[in-house]
Amino acid sequence: MDFIDWDFIVSRAPLFWAAAKLTVKLAVGGILLAAALGFLCAVARFYRIPVFNQIAYFYIELARNTPLMVQLFFLYFGLPRLGLVWEGQTCAIVGLTFLGGAYMAEAFRGGLAAINRNQVESALSIGLSRIQTLRYVIAPQALAVAWPAISATVIFLMKETSVFSIVALPDLMYVAKDLLKEGHSGETNLLLILSYLTIILPVSLFFGRMERRLRFAGFGS
């Protein structure tokens, strides 16, 4: 094949490999934190914990209705004016957590909303504490229901990492933009697509498998 410059691809692959590692690192950090934040918000809303419930509501609306790029802009260029200087990686993880937490909260909340509140009483009646009730009775059921939404959120957030280059991080998009200056746009595009596929496809397959397992786990009807 003549129209693909394989030498170019082979020689530039290590650049993409390094950038992919950075993307994965930031994505994993941001998504895990987002899941934790989202779970807390969802619980605050499910149990209607005063004050936290309202805070969670406003946070969710704020985060979901502004683009990640704008959020990152604020963290990277706005915060320093308030005297808070964060490096690019911190901004990226905080930004992804901020955005993702809201989507995760909505995903978990959907799962929690599907659980009959009598389940809480039934769990309390055998002496489980509120935390144990959440841990052993409510969360497992909610997670099974919320799984498809959680998996969609994870994949959405992985794709959102492609805007990190605006805070000067050498991630996949950054490397690709850099290489485009040398021409070879076809090869660069190919490398970029392959890199994202290599990262996201396994995650997608994993979540799909888990979803089927949860669905056939013997409950959920």
């Binding site: 009959n116 009598n118 389940q119 009483e121 039934s122 769990a123 309390l124 009646s125 055998i126 002496g127 489980l128 504490s129 144990q132 052993y136 009775v137 497992p140 059921q141 099974a144 786990a217 013997g218 409950f219 959920g220 009807s221």
Partner: protein, 289 residues
């Protein structure tokens, strides 16, 4: 009949939902080993009473004293107290993501912190007793209503509560499954367990009750021995309530109409029921004394 000391005292209990007064100063004492059947028209506060006893509803006034402890004390440790008060709900409320066995084990292991072996032994003993040890691996959705309710009863009993609360535990069951659940409860009564039972099954109430509590509009209107209550209720309200049941009993068989013949069959059935309930009482008394 020899009963133990007072185990539960309810004094002037008041419960409101907003401006709606549901319990209006209810007073009741239960002795150890007693079986109380609570009946009364829909909305009179039966479920609310049981829920207050288990701390599922905050109360607005009065006292509940259970085994010397004030349940109306706002600082009470409910987790510890609820282990001593077993509750069974109308709709079973088994945990759908856990097998029958794990439903029973959860409280034993997580609440009572028993070892797995110990918890298993207890669960086996109870599930065997209600004939469901074979089904221990089944998830709730794979069980019939009657089986689910038996698991729910065992889940509460396994924690060795001092009193059991049953809230219309057969109301959601198909008729053919009512019996298997009521049999379990009758057996518990024979063991001398203290129980508060809300039910609309009058034949069962007659058979199992030491005392019948008739509630109306948030108060206890009658508190009597079942023989007395069912044969000769003291109040007009109770009489009217019981009449409704006799009427609905007659129409229960799905006959096109209540023909004289059907009525006759019903009468025979009723006298059989009465005989059965006497039998149940006879066999129960020696074990309680």
């Amino acid at each position: 009949m020899s009963l133990g000391p007072d185990i539960l005292k309810i004094k002037d209990l008041k419960k409101n939902f907003g401006s709606l007064a549901v319990l209006k100063g209810l007073t009741l004492t239960v002795r150890q080993g007693e079986v109380l059947v609570i009946i009364g028209p829909s909305g009179c506060g039966k479920s609310t009473l049981l829920r207050c006893l288990n701390g599922l509803e905050p109360v607005q006034g009065g006292q509940i004293i259970f085994g010397g402890q004030y349940l109306t004390d706002p600082h009470i440790n409910w987790s510890r107290t609820r282990q001593r008060i077993g509750m069974v709900f109308q709709n079973y409320e088994l945990f759908p993501h856990l097998t029958a066995l794990d439903n029973v084990l959860l409280g034993l292991i997580r609440v009572q912190k028993r070892s797995k072996t110990e918890a298993l032994a207890i669960a086996e003993r109870w599930l065997t007793r209600v004939g469901l040890w074979d089904r221990r691996g089944s998830f709730p959705r794979q069980l019939s209503g009657g089986q689910k309710q038996r698991v729910a009863i065992v889940r509460a009993l396994a924690l060795e509560p001092e009193i059991m609360l049953f809230d219309e535990v057969t109301a959601s069951l198909d008729p053919e499954m009512v019996r298997e659940v009521l049999d379990v409860i009758v057996n518990l009564a024979k063991d001398g367990r203290t129980m508060l039972i809300v039910t609309h099954e009058m034949a069962f109430a007659k058979a199992v009750a030491d005392r019948v509590i008739f509630m109306d509009e948030g108060l206890i209107v009658e508190d009597a021995k079942p023989e007395v209550f069912f044969e000769n209720p003291a109040t007009e309200r109770a009489r009217r309530f019981l009449n409704i049941f006799q009427f609905s009993d007659i129409h229960k068989p799905q006959e096109p109409s209540a023909s004289p013949l059907a009525k006759e069959a019903q009468d025979v059935k009723e006298s059989n029921d009465a005989k059965e309930s006497n039998d149940a009482k006879d066999s129960k008394e020696p074990e309680l004394s």
